[in-house]
């Protein structure tokens, strides 16, 4: 497992505890070693808690990008049943950076759509590191339209560095694909529940990000630009990543305070990558509660409320007028 800078102490203590545990298994007469273990475990919990409740923007970004962090398919496997993946945009594109399909959530059919990063090198390349071509967004739109047709609620999971910046992406209309998705999602007559599970990278996130409720996992981030991009453009200095991350207010806590998102979902101590099962339980609970609330609304109410939600986004003053 990759150890992040601010986790060093935590891992050192974890190793120490592990050593003591194996020691206690080897000898019967190590005396009060179990008391010592209990004490250290308590210390570890406190340490983890202190570190992980005070993460700054750049540290959160590193957790959100952690190579072991659970991805969309990891959550699908643990939260839904009978997942039937559906492929293709029907216009010549496969769109591997976005996965989607029908599944059961408790007894309710849902359409689940999310960005998918790769775990090993081969899959990373196949998934293009979660940076989608237009085909991925068009596939997502097709699946959402299918869901709308059959009155099936939509759940989206956001986890992308951003839309892919490449020659073919431009040729095939990256801008149009993103714009059309927002334009369509605002009017869908079924509930749309959006959760940022890792990286919420700009337009590529928004392409599946217009919904009735916007949730974020505790250590996920959501931003108009990456801290690296922002640092190099506004500071003209790639090293100003931490300042840029803070300035952008990209953490779940920031975005809840700014009223851009509706809810933060707690992650297991140390981040979702430390305990997939517990992370999935947290997400499932939040999805269940929110979906239950959304299903109460008529299609017209949903569309109206969703419109009002996005209509009111933005902060400005009215000068003298």
């Amino acid at each position: 497992m990759q150890i992040l800078d601010f986790e060093r102490e935590i891992f050192a203590l974890e190793n120490q505890i592990q050593d003591l545990v194996s020691l206690s298994h080897m000898y019967d007469s190590v005396g009060d070693i179990s008391d010592e273990i209990t004490k250290l475990k308590k210390k570890l919990r406190h340490m983890k808690h202190d570190v992980f409740t005070n993460l700054k923007g750049w540290q959160k970004t590193q957790v959100a990008r952690h190579p072991d962090r659970p991805y969309t398919l990891d959550y699908i496997e643990r939260i839904f049943t009978d997942f039937q993946e559906l492929h293709g945009d029907r216009h010549g594109g496969y769109g591997p950076s976005v996965v989607g399909g029908l599944a059961k959530f408790d007894d309710q059919s849902v359409m689940i759509i999310g960005h998918q990063k790769g775990r090993d090198t081969q899959e990373k390349i196949k998934r293009n590191f979660g940076m989608s071509q237009p085909a991925g967004y068009r596939k997502a739109l097709r699946l959402m339209q299918l869901a709308e047709k059959f009155d099936v609620p939509i759940i989206t999971l956001i986890d992308t560095p951003g839309a892919y910046p490449g020659i073919d992406a431009e040729e095939k209309g990256q801008s149009e694909a993103i714009a059309t998705n927002m334009y369509s999602m605002i009017n869908m007559k079924v509930p749309i529940l959006v959760t940022v599970i890792g990286e919420g990278g700009s337009g590529g996130a928004l392409a599946i990000g217009v919904g009735d409720r916007i949730l974020m996992l505790e250590h996920s981030v959501y931003s108009v630009i990456s801290p690296e991009g922002c640092a190099s453009i506004l500071w003209n200095d790639k090293k100003k990543i931490e300042q840029a991350a803070d300035a952008l207010c990209m953490t779940a806590t920031d975005l809840l305070r700014l009223k851009v998102i509706d809810e933060i979902i707690r992650e297991p101590l140390g981040g979702a990558h430390r305990n997939y099962k517990q992370a999935a339980i947290g997400l499932r609970k939040a999805l269940r509660l929110n979906l239950k609330a959304l299903i109460q609304f008529s299609p017209e109410e949903l569309v109206q409320k969703r419109y009002e939600k996005f209509r009111s986004m933005g902060v400005f003053t009215n000068g003298v007028g």
């Binding site: 020659i167 993103i178 605002i186 100003k240 007028g321």
Partner: protein, 287 residues
């Protein structure tokens, strides 16, 4: 003296250097030395190579809207700096120093006016205001312009000229993409035409929202249009970009826009399109 000239005189734009010293300028297209008066006379298009110089919002209005018919709206909206953003400079200070240069409408001017035979609602980007970047004010002004179009049953025109989202407003700038796209959806349900005009440059969050959602999308010759900027793409793919990549003509060839239209023909073209869409008679010529 037109109101635009009055504006120029009042604000002092372009008057820092005595006039006698800047008679010639190098054309970015053909690299020739061109007599400035010639360019001005020619709607700021190079008479030699047809290069379209970037123009500001006020000039654009004078080229598109019948004289004396433009009425500006929402000019008092200003950014509230919701993130208290500071990079090398405070965002508030950036805003102030831009306003001191004479651009006090944020990066967009909106209003009502008459284009040829049609009353229209108009949004025009001002590139001189922080690169035409879209923050809360731009998004709100566009949305209100769309709502006014619905209320008055007028067609909508947006002339884009922007590098994309305004980073200094973080997530709020991103959300303006969703907000404007949502408002356009309502316009569409009212069956009112929206003509999107793309000028150099139209990139990032502006390109990936309302700019690409026009019922008809027109672009000026040579305009850079794309989601990602060419430099970002070059860095990502580690190779040089092909000649003409992301230019208006390239987008036309790839089926992404309807037409490339010369600046001198833009008003006539939009007028004709609106008459065709609304099934009204087409005027012989538009002043």
């Amino acid at each position: 003296m037109s109101w635009f000239d009055t504006f120029i005189e009042k604000t002092g734009i372009g008057k820092k250097v005595p006039k006698a010293e800047i008679i010639w300028t190098e054309c970015k297209g053909c690299k020739e030395q061109i007599y400035i008066a010639e360019i001005e006379k020619n709607l700021k298009v190079c008479p030699n190579c047809e290069y379209h110089f970037r123009i500001d919002a006020k000039e654009r209005i004078s080229y598109l809207i019948n004289p004396g018919t433009f009425e500006e709206h929402d000019q008092d909206l200003t950014s509230a700096d919701p993130l208290k953003f500071k990079d090398q400079k405070k965002y508030k200070e950036r805003l102030k120093s831009t306003e001191k240069k004479g651009y006090s409408h944020d990066a967009l001017i909106t209003g009502s006016g008459v284009l040829g035979d049609h009353a229209v609602e108009l949004s025009i980007f001002e590139f001189n205001f922080m690169g035409g970047s879209m923050g809360s004010v731009v998004g709100e002004k566009i949305t209100r312009s769309i709502e006014r179009a619905i209320e008055k049953r007028n067609p909508l025109l947006i002339v884009s000229c922007s590098g994309g989202a305004r980073m200094q407003e973080g997530i709020f700038s991103l959300m303006q993409m969703a907000k404007t796209a949502s408002a356009l959806r309502r316009l569409s349900e009212h069956k009112l035409p929206y003509i999107s005009i793309l000028t150099d440059p139209t990139t990032g969050g502006v390109s990936a929202s309302f700019a690409m959602l026009g019922d008809v999308i027109l672009a000026e010759p040579g305009a850079l249009i794309g989601f990602a900027g060419p430099r970002v793409i070059e860095q990502t793919i580690q190779q040089k970009l092909p000649e003409g990549f992301q230019r208006a003509e390239f987008l036309l060839e790839h089926g992404l826009i309807d037409n490339v239209v010369h600046r001198k023909d833009m008003k006539q073209t939009v007028n004709k399109l609106l008459s065709l869409l609304k099934n009204t008679p087409i005027a012989e010529a538009v002043a």
